[in-house]
Every structure is written in structure tokens, then in C-alpha cells.
Symmetry: C2
Subunit: 111 residues, 2 copies
Amino acid sequence: MAIHKKEEFSQKEQDLAEFAKAIAHPARIAILKVLAQRNECICGEIVDILPLAQSTVSQHLKELKNAGLIKGTIDGPRTCYCINWKAFEKFNTEFNLLFDTLKVKNEKACC
Amino acid sequence: MAIHKKEEFSQKEQDLAEFAKAIAHPARIAILKVLAQRNECICGEIVDILPLAQSTVSQHLKELKNAGLIKGTIDGPRTCYCINWKAFEKFNTEFNLLFDTLKVKNEKACC
DNA sequence: TCACTTAATCGTATATTTGCGATATAAGAT
DNA sequence: ATCTTATATCGCAAATATACGATTAAGTGA
């Protein structure tokens, strides 16, 4: 691969791609669903629900946190996670914007 | 890694993750934008626009095609690509559904 | 037929992701 | 102080993704 070419694209394209990557794994989508459903913060419960080892779940949580989609605060011996609604809303909007942009020239398929 | 764990999640989660992966690279987002903008089918023009080698672009096109997001038809010595609006619309809907699902318990952040 | 053009595929190198067990860390309980 | 519980991190292995040059395949035109 030698060189990373990703930097040569626009910042918006990079950001959207980053976000897409964050949710590009069923485990991470499942985690988001659990967090949204329970509303309250959760921690090791996710490990019980998902078919993955504790260390693997921890890693997925870290990636979601790095993407800014979730927040984690330490609560005694455990960590309490929840969705970062502000960032989430932003990405939701950005995504719809991309979809809308793509749909400007509406459906005049050529082939 | 030994075993793939992705199969253990729901089909919907897998499908959404697949779609997210398809657009999880700035080059592929850029390709979709070009295809939408020109409306008409394009082929090697994408290679001229993107900062990538022909073989790399071809590979990205293949991935988008595998994800069902674009269609490619052979037109003489060249290949004509365009967005598969039907599949695209479906994924757009699915995505908004995911967002809505997550937002059911509205923004009652706990931490 | 023989070049030329266009695009797909192959082979290869490297980077990243995914997954797990083992180990560390840190707070609470005894 | 020590044990227990909950998480994070480390180290490793395997799988995927990214990127490119070289080659192949297939259509066009001379």
C-alpha cells in the first residue's frame, strides 16, 4: 500500500467515511441499539448480550468512543456508556445531506 | 481471529454494516458523488478525477457493485456505471430507520 | 490482421481490523 | 491488607482492506 491516499479526499468525505466505518460492523450497530434501548448507561451487560469476549466488546466500545458516537464515564468499578446524542444527530444530518446530494439528479438512470 | 463472528448478529444488522462498509472509504463516496453529478454513466473519467491508479479505482467500483449500490454495463470497449437508485433508496430508508430506532428514547442522556 | 484503447484481474506488499486470552488497573467489599 | 469485580490494555494470530504495477481480455479502427 505504501502511502495512505485517504487524505487526498475532502474533509467531509473523510469524516463521513470515518463515521460509516464506525457503524460498519454488526457488533457496533448492536451495541448502539442496546445503549439506545436501555437509555441508561450500561457496561458489562453488553458483554452478556453480545456473542463476543469481554476484551473484544471493550475494543468495539473504544472505537465507537473514538468516533464520538458514545460517551463513557467511570462509575465506581464499572464504566457507564451512553450515546452521544449531539454527535449522533450531527452524523445523522450529514448522512441525510449526502443522500440528498446524491439524489439531486433524480433517478434518471442511464443503464 | 480464527472464526467470523459477524454471522451471529441479525440479518438487518449485517446488511446495514455491509452497506456502511461500502461507503466507509472517501474514494467510494467520491465515486458516488461523481456518478450522481454526471447522471450519465461514466467509466475511465473517474480515474482522471480521483487521485488513484486505474486498478485501484476498478477495485472500488467492484466493491460498490458488490454492495449493489451501482450498476455497470459494458458499452463497447468501456464500462458504463451509474447509481442503482432502487438499492440506494432502500439503504437510505434502512438507515433512517436505524437512526429513528436509536432515537426512540429521545436524548435522555444519563452521563 | 494488427495496433490501440479501455477496463478487469492477478500478484504482491503493506496496513488495518477483528478476535481472543492473559495481564494490568482500579474501585469496592471483607 | 486482601480478595473480588469490572474494564481496559497488551500481545498475538488471522482475516480483510488498500494500493499499485503488470498482465489479460475484449472491442474499435486502420
